[in-house]
C-alpha cells in the first residue's frame, strides 16, 4: 500500500515537472525578445527540473541515490538564477535593446554613467 502510494506521488510529481518543462520551452519559442525568454528559460525550467528530480528522489531505490537527487536540486537552485542573471546583464551591456518595453530605468542609469 505504502509502496503504491509512493509510486503514485512520484509519477504525479514527474508528470507536473514534464508539463512545466514543455510549457517553458513553448515560452522560449513564443516570447518576443531575449529578456522575456530568459524569464521562461529560468523560472519554469527550474520548477520543472525540480519537480522531475523530486519525483526521482521519491522513486529512487536507495537513500544514497535520493541524496544525489537532492544534491542536484540544490545545485540547480543555486546556479540557475546566477547564470540567467549573468546572461541578462551581459545582453544589456552588449547593447541588445529589448523589443517590447514600457519602462526602462536601467538604461537611464547606464547612459548617465557614460556622460
Amino acid at each position: 500500500m505504502i509502496q503504491e502510494m509512493r509510486f503514485v506521488v512520484a509519477y504525479l510529481f514527474m508528470a507536473i515537472g514534464v508539463f512545466f518543462s514543455l510549457t517553458s520551452v513553448l515560452g522560449i519559442i513564443r516570447f518576443p525578445d531575449v529578456y522575456t525568454r530568459i524569464h521562461a528559460g529560468t523560472k519554469a525550467l527550474t520548477g520543472g527540473a525540480l519537480f522531475v528530480l523530486a519525483g526521482g528522489a521519491i522513486l529512487a531505490p536507495s537513500w544514497q541515490a535520493s541524496a544525489k537527487f537532492v544534491l542536484i536540486i540544490v545545485f540547480f537552485l543555486i546556479t540557475n538564477p546566477l547564470s540567467s542573471h549573468a546572461i541578462a546583464r551581459a545582453c544589456y551591456r552588449h547593447g541588445i535593446k529589448p523589443e517590447l518595453i514600457y519602462k526602462d530605468e536601467y538604461g537611464e542609469k547606464i547612459s548617465n554613467k557614460k556622460e
Partner: protein, 245 residues
C-alpha cells in the same frame, strides 16, 4: 521538418544502442573475461579504472605524458610576453555565488579522484573538474585574482610532481621484482572490493594523474587565453571602463 526527422532518427538509434547494453549476449570476447575476473584479480570495483591503471598502466603513463608535452609545446610557442593580468570580471552577484560554490566543487573533484577505483571517474575526470574551478575563478574574478592565489609556477610544479609520483609508483614494482607498474604482484595490498583501501596502487596512481591533468589543463587554458588577448587586445581596449561594479 527534415531536421526534426533526422533528430528523431538519431534519438531512436541511440536508444537502441543503450538498450542493447542490457542484453547479456552483447558481452562477448575479451569483455567477458574482464567483467568476470577484474574484481578478483585487482580488487577494484570499477573495471575501467582497473584496465587503465593495472592491465595497461604503461599506456596510461604515455597518455599522461601527452599532456606534459602539450603544456611544454604551448608554453614554448606562446612565450613572447609575461602573463598579463586583469581584474575584469562579472557582476557582484556572480562573484559571491561562485565563491560560495568553489569549496564544494573542489571537494567534488577530489571525491571523483579518490573514489576512482570504485565508482565512475578517476584521475582524468577529477583533474578536469579542478581545471574547471581555476577557469571559473579566472572568468568570474579576473585572471589577476586567480594568479595571485595559485601561481603559474606552482601549477607547473604540481604537474611535474604528479608525473614523478606516477613513475615512482611504477618503480616500486621494479624493486619488488615484478615488472614496471605491477600492482598486486608488487605487494600492494588488494583489500576488499568496494572498500576505500582496496585495489592496491590504483588510488595512488589516480591521485598522480589527477595532479597532472588538473595543473596541465589549467596551464594550457592560460596560455591560450593569452594568445587571444595578444590578437584582439588592441581592438577591444576602448570598451574598458564601464565595469566598476
Amino acid at each position: 521538418m527534415g531536421l526534426l526527422l533526422l533528430c528523431l532518427g538519431i534519438g531512436w538509434w541511440l536508444w537502441k544502442g543503450v538498450a542493447a547494453m542490457e542484453d547479456p549476449e552483447f558481452i562477448i570476447g575479451p569483455a567477458a573475461y574482464y567483467i568476470i575476473n577484474t574484481a578478483e584479480e585487482t580488487g577494484a570495483a570499477n573495471i575501467v579504472a582497473a584496465i587503465l591503471f593495472d592491465y595497461r598502466g604503461i599506456d596510461t603513463l604515455g597518455e599522461a605524458s601527452v599532456i606534459y608535452t602539450t603544456v611544454c609545446g604551448v608554453a614554448m610557442l606562446f612565450s613572447k610576453s609575461k602573463y598579463k593580468r586583469s581584474s575584469a570580471g562579472l557582476s557582484f552577484i556572480a562573484r559571491r555565488g561562485v565563491s560560495f560554490l568553489v569549496p564544494f566543487l573542489l571537494l567534488y573533484g577530489s571525491t571523483i579522484i579518490l573514489m576512482g577505483h570504485m565508482t565512475p571517474g578517476g584521475g582524468f575526470q577529477g583533474g578536469a573538474v579542478f581545471a574547471t574551478v581555476t577557469i571559473l575563478l579566472c572568468i568570474v574574478f579576473g585572471s589577476s585574482f586567480e594568479m595571485s592565489r595559485i601561481k603559474p609556477k606552482t601549477k607547473e610544479t604540481i604537474e611535474s610532481l604528479g608525473g614523478l609520483f606516477f613513475v615512482f609508483l611504477g618503480g616500486v614494482g621494479l624493486l619488488a621484482g615484478a615488472g614496471f607498474l605491477a600492482n598486486t604482484a608488487a605487494g600492494f595490498p588488494r583489500g576488499q572490493v568496494g572498500n576505500f583501501l582496496s585495489a592496491g596502487a590504483i588510488p595512488l596512481l589516480n591521485i598522480a594523474v589527477g595532479m597532472k591533468v588538473g595543473a596541465g589543463l589549467s596551464t594550457i587554458f592560460y596560455s591560450m587565453v593569452r594568445v587571444l588577448e595578444l590578437e584582439f587586445g588592441e581592438q577591444m581596449s576602448e570598451v574598458e571602463g564601464n565595469d566598476k561594479n
